[in-house]
């Protein structure tokens, strides 16, 4: 019986991009946070080179304020697929006095990640960093090229980007520069979820509804944790929540939810009228929070 390959346009495009990264760069790396987008990216990378092994390592910038479920999941995945994982610790830079920890009510290690990322890029000589960022996430991300050149300080010159024509990706760079590559640029949050469902991709349990100690502030639900600042009057309660996006614990809010499996999660997102990054506290700092961070080298 003839077998015909089903066409999934977004998957085919992402695989094409990942293969171009491997062909055009000497030392590519996949930035892996343990979140659903980087897990999807990893799945696509395995398909792109199957039956060969993934020809690049994974880099996790560990803020030290992660959800333990995410770290456990990361380590299981690395063992299961025989992956090379590099972990760069934000704590190391704090201990060395290179970056200063924020204090107070909205303190977070999110901004501090940039320095650790740039150090790791320099130390390992990575010339291309693949990431699971999507253009539908945030207005500054909507402006990114698929191959986006960074100078040797990791800075993004958003007003002077390279033209990018058709599928002709130009990965030629000067020594010291590196390129941020975004294979799933054109996917939406719902595309990622539908793909996770159809491919039966495993994701950390925190994406599904569970009971957690939380408190409310500014209309958002925060995890109660030693890593998250809490005022005495802010009361902790146990509630059914899940995470829609997973970042540093101190800047990722939960959403009230009863969605306990992939079908109910998709149902919930399809009906949701709030954008995904509505629960990212770091984006609420100012109108241009993401753009400013990206100019400095944030992913």
């Amino acid at each position: 019986m003839p077998k015909v390959l089903p066409l999934n346009a977004l998957e085919a495009e992402a695989i094409y991009i990942i293969r171009e990264v491997v062909a055009q760069f000497e030392k590519p790396v996949l930035l892996f946070s343990g979140g659903k987008d980087s897990i999807t990216l990893l799945h696509l990378a395995r398909k792109a080179f199957f039956p060969a092994r993934i020809p690049f390592p994974l880099l996790h910038v560990d803020t030290g304020h992660n959800f333990p479920e995410t770290i456990d999941f990361r380590d299981e995945l690395v063992a299961k697929y025989d992956l090379d994982l590099i972990v760069a610790h934000v704590q190391d830079n704090i201990d060395a006095g290179i970056v200063k920890e924020e204090t107070g009510r909205y303190s977070s290690r999110n901004q501090l990640q940039t320095q650790t990322l740039l150090d790791a890029i320099e130390e390992h000589g990575f010339d291309a960093c693949m990431g699971g960022a999507r253009r539908d996430e945030e207005k500054a991300r909507a402006k990114e090229r698929i191959f986006s050149v960074r100078n040797d300080f990791g800075e993004w010159d958003e007003k002077n980007q390279r033209p990018e024509l058709f599928d002709l990706l130009n990965g030629m760079i000067e020594l010291g520069q590196n390129v941020r590559c975004f294979p799933i640029s054109n996917w939406t949050e719902l595309d990622v979820w539908n793909y996770i469902r159809s491919e039966k991709i495993e994701i950390p349990s925190i994406y599904y509804a569970h009971e957690r100690s939380v408190f409310e502030r500014d209309g958002l639900i925060w995890s109660d944790s030693p890593h998250v600042y809490r005022d005495d009057h802010e009361e902790v309660a146990i509630r059914w929540v899940r995470f829609r996006t997973v970042g540093d614990m101190s800047c990722t809010a939960a959403v009230a939810s009863t969605a306990i499996d992939i079908d109910t999660v998709i149902e919930e997102i399809s009906g949701s009228t709030i954008s995904e990054r509505g629960a990212r506290i770091d984006d609420k700092r100012s109108e241009a929070a993401m753009e400013t961070r990206k100019q400095q080298g944030y992913f």
Partner: protein, 414 residues
Amino acid sequence: MDVLKIATAGSVDDGKSTLIGRLLYDTQSLPTDKLEAIKKSSEKKGYDYLDLSLATDGLVAEREQGITIDVAHIYFSTPDRSYIIADSPGHVEYTRNMITGASTSKASIILIDARKGVVEQTFRHFYINHLLKTSHLIIAVNKMDLVDYEESAFAKTEQQFRSLLDQHPLEKRTVHFVPVSALKGENVVDISGAMPWYTGSTILEILSKIDTVEESTQGFLQVQNVIRPKTEEYHDYRGFAGRIKGAHLSTGDEITVLPSMKTSTIDGIYFNGDRYDEAPVGSSVSVTLSDEVNVDRGDVLMTQLPADFELTKTIQATICWMDSTPLRPRTKFHLQYGTQRMTCRVQHILSKKSTDFRQDITEVEILELNDIARIQLKLSKPIPAITYDQSKELGRFILIEPQSRNTAAVGFIE
């Protein structure tokens, strides 16, 4: 679900952002938090309507200046299809960013202000889409509410635009004219009650009917990587990874490797460990061949060579110059052709388009940013003598400046 990519073009203040905002709003694609922000801003500015244009501006500089500098990608969907809008700048100085947005799009929406009709910028937008051979053009005659929804205003603009089309015929392409009011939501997603004289489709209806996949006669694959696992299980596996273009490929298809012109047969089409007899256009697969022929990255595996097929090292092309450093003849560049890169030299500048695109200027010494010109190139390796007219994928290239490594031009082989 399939994905349709659309580009928008229009001059300043002709309502491009509002049209995009309207598409998002009327398809319920604007999340509550964004909508709240738009409501607040609109109230603050004292408007008695929602300023939907606020749904699009991305960069600080864009918000400050109230213009679009670079392409933003905006997403919306209906139950049947996902859409990606490349929201491109209209200003002359950002033409290269506009081409960036339009190059990956199947359809372009060109906005024209009904009060003004076809203006200088319309020529530029039309000409770039003409150059790219964008399959579907939608001419949205906007701000119909400001001309009392008069059919005559729409008819006048359509006629002006049709005279442009007479000068640059668009074979195999479709042009739709739609009278709209993006501000009031007439004929964007919902049909207008205010223009009963218009019996055509809304913009969204037109978009929903565009074919996302077109097949031609020749299937081919530009090799990206050679996959050699060298594991016990796949000891002799040598797969050529790439994306299928032109037409579908089947196991058993005879192929010619370009440029070596060696022939072989497709032994298997593989994806994620499964073997397929057939794979459609657009799929990213690996193929194995039945002979031990030498194939490198950049080579093209091609079915059914045309009767008069030849390889060439000299090409003529129309290019758009995108670098701030001017182009001078006799300079060398890297030429990226599919997944292949080679050295090339600009032999001559044959002519360039006047700024209004109505004349060809000859005896040109240099090309400056955003100039569109015909040039002759000499390549270090042969490529198929196939024009952009014959094949969009095989008839295009980019030039990369060897010092800065920037993409300096896009070219269309003629």
